[in-house]
Symmetry: C2
Subunit: 331 residues, 2 copies
DNA sequence: AACATTTTCGCAAACGTTTGCGGCAAAGTA
DNA sequence: TACTTTGCCGCAAACGTTTGCGAAAATGTT
């Protein structure tokens, strides 16, 4: 794209120098009000738009963040992206979106794209298969803050923003206990992921605090379909499951599919509770009770952390978003 | 970000000129194989990454597309975005994401951001409130192709990529007729939008072809909640609705909420069919039959059109994605 | 009147690439 | 041997901004 107006064309027309035009548009105190007004009027008339490529080249300072997620088409990620975009635009930053498909090799290729575009900062949800995060840490050598979110590495010395996993799990367990559930099926995510481990540990501990009177069976599902099958397998006349905990929206969709297939009444025949951002739970009647794990809130918090990093904060932080319990009608 | 390696540093180390280094890295035929090899080895050793700002400034040619949607958090849009990202990365393009919230003023502000970033092309789903598309057409003056998708303006002379609205509606109507539905409730989207008009017209016409034996009641819902209320209002003992057509995923979620609230059996008590990308229909059991309106396919087609525009195609096109019927168990 | 200070503007280098064009040495040809 | 052609490389302008520093005119002070 080649717009017609440049600083040079404006300077030629006004018979002043390019640097005066540049400073006038930036409201530099050295430039008189009269000159500033002339310049701004003509810039508007000529539809002048500064060229961010020239600015970034000269100042060595881009105004672009990258968000790298396994898939954009994910309920949690796109609300995160939406929140970050809302904040970014307030500060004159743009967002570049890169998908990795959860493939470490594509993550590395994406980092290369980030270097080529001289991005100012990176928000990344790593894939389950990602073990080596050195490539991400090397971005710090280039003064590019990297904020890990959602699926964060277990490595300590990096900036992380995530749901308060243990607390969210504890809230869910508390709710089940308060509703006198005695035979609980907990379906968790990928056992390799730290968020799964943390939530499982916290959930189990809270249930165990009640002594032996509560039966907890835990399973892992990586897909909605896997969750659906687990429900079919576990909910038999011999196994008196009275409540199911779903660790994610995806698992919830599979569980609810099975519940409909088995023509179970919620909450009479089975209680349901999930970790969710609220969209899926509200599709059903009665509405599913859930512990809110909001991508949107995470996005806001992640943006704040990025701002702090860009403003010079060098200490590493792991920030968490607390969850709240939203009572539906499923328990 | 300031990476350490530049063409100059590489040239200093190898005692050759910057232009030789640049040409060697670009595999220019004037440069000997021996020199090319030396340069490439050192570039890799020094972690050289070209600076896209410098390249774009010099060549006046950016490699960034913008996608502008009302909200990222929309089932249709994020699958479109995902598809475009998959294509873009194959051709070395990056994606910038901008939300407009459906607000024409923010759309205009977003176009300004596009000009400042010298984007190579724009994919846009305009908001319902957007009437004046001149600001978008002015981007053509700057040689920036604009592809309207999904919510496209009725204005003729612009590139559009959308679902074959009439055909999708006709398919749905055909399916209802083939299933001998006699009292149909059709819930459509915003009556102001052209996609609604087209689908309503085609749907009504197909039903009307059957003469007076088929009763069709049509309603408009702008939200899931509005759709839910319509169902509560329309499904009374006095009104023998035997099937509901939902024009979008959002409408489907509201309809299904009401169906659950009314404890209606699908398909025994009520038949359901929707225009959908397939995610929502598969959450229910029996699965909802739907006419696939895939954001992913639209994204692929839109990218092809953008490539054609960038390669010099100057004629205006309106491309459509044909839909296919996916049979579930709801009819 | 002479000198000092302030106001307002301009010069040109710089950022990191690309690329038209020219130069030099080697190779080819008559 | 003399001239032509080819291979391979280098010079430096260009892109559109920013900005350190200096200059000239206006204003202030003694």
């Amino acid at each position: 794209m080649k717009p017609k107006a440049t600083l040079k064309k404006i300077s030629d027309k006004l018979q002043i120098s390019i640097s005066t035009v540049s400073r006038a548009l930036k409201n530099h105190p050295d430039i008189s009000e009269h000159t500033k007004q002339k310049v701004k009027e003509l810039a508007e008339l000529m539809d002048y738009e500064p060229n961010n490529y020239a600015i970034s080249l000269r100042t060595n300072n881009s105004k672009v963040f990258c968000i790298m997620v396994p898939q954009i088409s994910n309920l949690f990620y796109h609300s995160f992206i939406s929140a970050v975009e809302e904040e970014a635009r307030l500060y004159g930053f743009s967002l570049m979106i890169l998908q990795s498909g959860g493939d470490p090799a594509i993550e590395i290729a994406n980092l290369k794209i980030c270097r080529q575009n001289r991005v100012a900062g990176i928000f990344v949800a790593i894939g389950t298969a990602t073990i080596d995060i050195q490539p991400f840490l090397k971005m710090d050598d280039l003064d590019v803050p990297v904020i890990f979110f959602d699926k964060v590495p277990s490595f300590q010395a990096c900036n992380k923003v995530c749901i308060a996993d243990a607390k969210a799990a504890t809230i869910a367990a508390d709710v089940l206990l308060r509703n006198n559930k005695k035979n609980i099926l907990g379906i968790f995510g990928d056992p390799e992921m730290s968020i799964t481990k943390k939530r499982l540990d916290a959930f189990s501990q809270k249930i165990a605090e009640k002594g032996k009177s509560i039966q907890l069976k835990t399973k892992h599902a990586l897909t909605a379909e896997a969750a659906r099958k687990i429900v079919h397998k576990c909910l038999t006349p011999l196994q008196k499951i009275d409540a199911i905990f779903c660790m994610s929206d995806e698992i919830l969709t599979g569980v609810m599919k099975a519940v409909q297939e088995l023509k179970l009444k919620v909450p009479e025949s089975i209680g349901i509770i999930a970790h969710s951002n609220g969209f899926i739970p509200n599709l059903y009647s009665p509405e599913i009770s859930y512990v809110e794990t909001s991508g949107h809130k995470l996005g806001k918090l992640a943006y704040n952390r990025m701002s702090a990093c860009l403003s010079g904060s060098t200490f590493i932080q792991e920030l968490t978003v607390e969850s709240i319990y939203i009572e539906g009608g499923s328990l």
